[in-house]
């Protein structure tokens, strides 16, 4: 990962050299000085977009208060967090879900389920499409009893946070699933991982994080908070930030799209558009390529010069993945507003997957971008729909699809890409830089035969 760190360094001439060399235990700064500008009236703004609610939420306990907060927490009923719960604590603590100040209480949960948005006290509306909730079971509920705060601990019982002014309400799983995914079919990955066996109650409240969430996987330094990203964009004098959410290896079609987006933004009059290349780092389903391998692959792509490090910031988005299509893409976009992005690139079938039971995609491939363009609270964000890129056989490279010579193009789906890599076959020249492809092949090689065999995906002809 040294190469990526140095690339990162190379791109950050105005950064103190210490920045990319942050120790793994670095605590996100609490009160970064931030320029506060009025909300832009037009869709084009010359400064970073304001976070939702006007102020970036950060939920960390001050260093000087840590001791007595730990003391206080030790007297509270404890709730043990799952890995995914912990990822949500991470998300909440850094303000990705601003203006949320903790796990949702019932009024926020209901607004999310019914309206994909929250009305604030001043009457304004922010987008919030996926429930950020913490489930507890009957036994935990009775242990909480009449306490108004609880302590949240990780799987090793280490203290993480306090949840204050709690509210406990029913966890109607069926309704939550139906309204979030638009189906209740068994086999939705997040549902099976985080909902089906979860408790029948939800506990909401205001979060005070005592120990910021770290993963100690060698990647923590890439997990920049929204405040850190905003700082970085400011230091680079970004006048536009365009975010690219991904949970797959980057191929040259993606790169073409990102390069083309920058070109379009320059043509629109922006002087210094910066790309936030923002792989999702939380829970993903079993047959997705794991984060560590994806980061290795992204590193090779950057090394290879496919993307320009001068105008690219690579960072990890800590959210878990819902695979909830048009509902989830709103969350992906909204969180990036909070990190300073005012342009969001949306692809075909974002956050989509196959229907768990039927032979079809769960969501209409166009609904994601349509819903995103109409979503309440995202009016300030510029939505940039994907142009379709495909492999142009006449040029032996990825190019924007030209329907007038459709026969010249080859579509290589994510499934096809993974199948090729699994079978140690090579994609056509120019599909992905060879060093990036090698990482993919290595990943599938690293799986035991049974694991590899567990990925039963039909190969399209």
């Amino acid at each position: 990962m040294a190469a990526m760190a140095s690339l990162y360094l190379k791109t950050s001439t105005q950064l103190p050299h210490s920045f990319p060399k942050l120790p793994k235990t670095f605590d996100p700064p609490l009160n970064l000085p931030r320029r506060r500008l009025p909300a832009p009236r037009t869709r084009i703004s010359a400064s970073l977009i304001d976070p939702d609610g006007g102020k970036l939420v950060q939920l960390f306990v001050k260093e000087s208060d840590k001791e007595w907060k730990l003391q206080q927490a030790s007297h509270l009923p404890k709730i043990k967090l799952s890995k995914i719960d912990l990822q949500w604590v991470h998300v909440l603590s850094e303000g990705w879900a601003s203006p949320l100040k903790g796990f949702m209480r019932e009024s926020e949960f209901l607004q999310t389920l019914h309206f994909n948005s929250l009305r604030l006290e001043n009457g304004s509306v922010v987008n919030m499409s996926v429930p950020v909730v913490l489930a507890i079971d009957d036994a935990q509920k009775s242990r909480v009893g009449s306490f108004t705060s609880v302590a949240l601990v990780d799987e090793k019982d280490d203290m993480v946070a306090i949840l204050n002014d709690i509210e406990i309400y029913k966890h109607n799983k069926e309704e939550r699933i139906a309204r979030t995914w638009g189906t209740t079919a068994p086999g939705l990955p997040y549902v099976e991982e985080a909902i089906t066996h979860a408790g029948n109650w939800l506990i909401g409240g205001d979060l005070e994080v005592i120990n910021p969430v770290k993963y100690d996987d060698g990647l923590d330094r890439f997990r920049l908070s929204p405040a850190q990203l905003r700082d970085e964009f400011d230091r680079r004098n970004a006048d536009a930030v365009f975010a690219f959410q991904l949970r797959n290896p980057v191929h040259n079609g993606h790169a073409l799209l990102m390069t083309d987006t920058r070109r379009r933004l320059l043509r629109m009059g922006y002087k210094n558009p910066i790309l936030l290349l923002h792989p999702l780092g939380g829970y993903t389903k079993a047959d997705d390529v794991p984060l560590s391998w994806r980061m290795k692959q992204h590193e090779k792509v950057l090394e290879d010069g496919v993307l320009d490090p001068e105008t690219t910031v690579v960072s990890i988005f800590p959210s878990p993945m819902h695979y909830a299509g048009p509902t989830e893409v709103q969350w992906h976009a909204k969180a990036r507003i909070n990190a300073g992005a005012n342009f969001y690139i949306v692809g075909r079938d974002p956050a989509g997957m196959s229907h768990p039971l039927e032979k079809r995609d769960l969501y209409d491939a166009d609904h994601g971008k349509k819903v995103l363009s109409m979503a309440p609270g995202l009016e300030r964000l510029n939505i940039l729909p994907f142009k379709v890129a495909a492999y142009d056989k006449t040029q032996s490279k990825m190019a924007f699809f030209d329907p007038s010579r459709a026969q010249d193009f080859l579509f290589i789906s994510g499934t096809k890409m993974r199948t090729l890599a699994k079978n140690r076959e090579s994609p056509p020249d120019g599909f992905m830089c060879p060093s990036g492809w090698k990482v993919l092949v290595e990943y599938y090689d690293s799986l035991s035969p049974s694991e590899n065999g567990r990925l039963p995906e039909p190969i399209p002809a």
Copy 2:
């Protein structure tokens, strides 16, 4: 029904006498002169509330255009409407769903499913929580071919309307059901009646109604359009209109609530609050009391003086019933804004029902009023939550429940009420006026034994 007509007449001293004696084929006026006042800035207004979108939509073809519209329609592909489709044509044509101008196109459908609201071109938001859509099957779709308009005919092939600038898009039933009902459990009445066997496409467009929908059931004169209701409220010099949606017989607990609401409004400073007693007249499930019997029962309640005819308007709301709880109650409220109501009484578990598979209510009994109070586009409406009324044994009448002497109260649920009537038993004195109760007993007597036996509802102890 003569008695109710005369009651209606009695209440309408400023009405021309012809109004309540409208011939059954009376066409709703197209261009009623309406006072247009700026949207109220506070929640209390001294004039009728503006319809959603600022202007009441009415979709009737002018009498003088009828001939050539019929001519035009005869050249178009025909789509046959089901009874429920026709009810929606009725709803749309009179502007209950203002500013909707016809069956939803995809962008409206998606906004309804995801946000329960529509963003208008001027940026304002109106509530719209249930999809108002028209399904067609593959054969119908191919018959439509490249036509841009279609003719809508009723079950007898009589011409009803033209749908213009049509858009045909996929009818993902599973997603529609999941997002509207929060469950996909088999056994949802509206789903089984109107969705399961419907076509796999939806056709949206602008509606031009050539022949207004009539039912010829002796009740058409009670089906006042929003324009007619607004006219009536204006004639009565209403300075507040409070709507009471119902699909059940009226008992004295309801009456107490409505009387009490008027008292509260007078205390708030209104001089002439008018009650819109607004039974739902469209599709209801098999074990609900049919509209004609409910209207007979309401007539007796009014005759009996339980409600004051001077300050009450009884009319039929033409919408079909979804039984979609918190999602549907928004529709029930929004439609009444369009009819001029600025206060809406919401009860426990509005539009709710039992879960079709599990032994519980489908919706949390409090979610309806909570969701309603937070719903986008309903900010102008004053939500009046039900006070709980129960039978006070010490007074032998319905009274507001007093938890400090809970043992004095008897709760008589709708289920219990129906079971008593089915068994020809009497409720406690003071629960419902005797003449109203008699109607209920007559209704259940009128069912064949097998029909009566088909209503298997457990009697709570």
